[in-house]
Amino acid sequence: MSILAQASFAQGPTSQDVDRAQLLQDQTQPPFGTSTSSEGIQDGHAAASPNDADIGEQEILKRTTEYRPLYVALASPIFYTSNVALTRSGEMSDVVVAPMAAMYYQPRITKTLYGNFGAREQVFYYGSNHAFDFGSLDVEAGLNYFMPQFHNLILRAEYDFNRLTFDDRLGDEFFSNHGLIFNAELPFRFSRAQQLAVGVNTNISVAADHQSPRRNDYEAYVAYSVNLTRAFSVNAAGRVVARDYHQNGRTDVSEILSASATYRLTDWCSISAISSFAHSDSNKDVFDYSVANVGGAIALSARF
């Protein structure tokens, strides 16, 4: 019922509306004559009565929502990690502060196709193991395509340049990678508040400076989110990632579980509790590791 009504609400007073009205009427009229039930329903509508004006005339208004393509975010996670160096033995724990700044421009090209251009810088500061401090810069350019006809399938393709630097010295690079990322995600909404998404992700390295960390990632994931209240939501995700390194025949398989709870203080500010656990198995045993992270974050974001 409401699908039909809303489809019409969204249109202006054009001739197509009349056509649609007639078309819909043909599809929704009962096959036989009118009927009135004892509950005051006539042909599915309220039976006419002298008091029909009791609840007034409801003129539908059309709201024009302006699409805002610019997205800016600042976040500062702080968390405990059980394994700073991601090693198999001799694990050291520490506290990590990882401030992040990001800006994306996502122009709408068609109703279902969006551009995605952005940059994101995050610096990881370790509480006592300062030698591990590093920064990560990503610059992305790509397209996001939505396919409502296929259960709202989302396809993404983008070029990603990733650059790792010592500490927060942006000019002091120790690794860079040019990658092509392809992602397909299928969301399933159980209700307005719950959604499950399954997806696959590949990150193909096409060029890198320093070959030993260079790798291709192949990932499958399932993510669940639920809005428990207007402002409070919980997310959980499980991922399996195969990392195929370009050198030494090394292949790792990582299983990652993560969960977060987010409370939105305002439209632009939220606080979160975050946790994750990862276990990685490598065909080169020396690279096996397990790590657990628990902490919190505050995030500011806005659209323009």
């Binding site: 039909l4 009504a5 202006g12 599915g44 009791d54 609840i55 719950q194």
Partner: protein, 306 residues
């Protein structure tokens, strides 16, 4: 001396026991009163049906006990005022009951305008499948079992949710209308409705004394006017005239005429429910196959690249 003391003590104990008994006896009466309502307006045929008693015609100032139901006949209306100053105005052919005052309002069928002032506590209005939390709001609800549910918020934000469908809830903000099949498994998105026009044409408002929330409604009307002047909200020629779900496509002349205020004493004539001059109508017939959820999910995803 001892005897006198003993008898005084006995008298005090007896008096205490009697007082306590009286208080205990009086408690249910005192506790029940805040949950009762009073008939403050009445037009034509209104029936009261208290628990396990035969229905009888209501009169002005009749007390409606907690758990009772009120039924209006054809061309009839009534207003109930609760102890917490909440108001329920019932349209024609409406069956309405309440439990624990405004905490559990039940609309079995028909239409009701509810005003629950802020600070009146938790209030909810229920139909068979859909419940609305309406604390601190003024709303209009129209419901016909297995037909449709229409919910309009005049001021304040209400939350609608489906019974037995965890997470399936929708916020209906001031100036929004939501129409759904009450048997649906998902709730649709609400759309905006012209509050100024509704206020000028609703007989549950213009034929009755002030609601008490006029200032709050006026603020919401002002917001809509501002949105219209900024072009972020525009008029359409899609109108539902009164009850029901038939959306009429009206012509501009009708729009202008309809936007003029209607005098409280004017009985709506046949032109209030146009038919021959319509450009067309969109039938929003409830259909079991048309669960009103798919479109909103599509829009949600398509409009937000995240």
């Amino acid at each position: 001396m001892k005897k006198a003391t003993r008898s005084t003590r006995s008298a005090l104990v007896c008096t205490g026991v009697v007082l306590l008994s009286l208080m205990a006896a009086a408690r249910p009466t005192i506790a029940a009163q805040p949950n009762d309502a009073t008939i403050t307006r009445l037009v034509n045929d209104v029936q009261l049906r208290a628990a396990q008693t035969a229905p009888h015609s209501a009169s002005i100032n009749d007390k409606v006990a907690d758990g009772s139901s009120v039924q209006t006949g054809m061309d009839s209306r009534t207003e109930l005022t609760f102890a917490d100053q909440s108001l329920a105005r019932l349209s024609a052919n409406t069956i309405f009951s309440f439990n624990e005052g405004t905490r559990n309002l039940d609309l079995a069928s028909g239409a009701v305008l509810m005003r629950v002032p802020k600070g009146a506590g938790r209030a909810k209005i229920s139909t068979a499948r859909v419940t609305a939390a309406i604390t601190g709001t003024t709303v209009i609800v129209e419901y016909h079992p297995h037909g449709y549910l229409k919910f309009i918020s005049l001021e304040g934000t209400a939350r609608l949710y489906l019974k037995g469908r965890w997470g399936e809830s929708v916020l209906v903000r001031p100036g929004q209308i939501l129409i759904t099949n009450p048997d649906a498994k998902n709730l649709p998105d609400p759309v905006d409705v012209d509050l100024a026009r509704l206020l000028k044409t609703a007989r549950l408002i213009i034929d009755f004394p002030p609601l008490g929330s006029e200032n709050l409604i006026a603020k919401e009307i002002e917001k809509q006017q501002r949105a219209k002047s900024k072009k972020s909200m525009t008029d359409t020629n899609l109108v539902i005239f009164g009850k029901g779900t038939i959306v009429s496509l009206t012509n501009p002349a009708q729009m202008t005429a309809a936007s003029r205020p209607i005098s409280a004493s004017v009985t709506p004539g046949p032109d209030a429910i146009p038919s021959s001059t319509d450009l067309g109508t969109v039938a929003t017939l409830p259909s079991p196959g048309a669960a009103p959820n798919g479109l909103s999910a599509t829009n949600y995803t398509a409009d937000d690249p995240h």
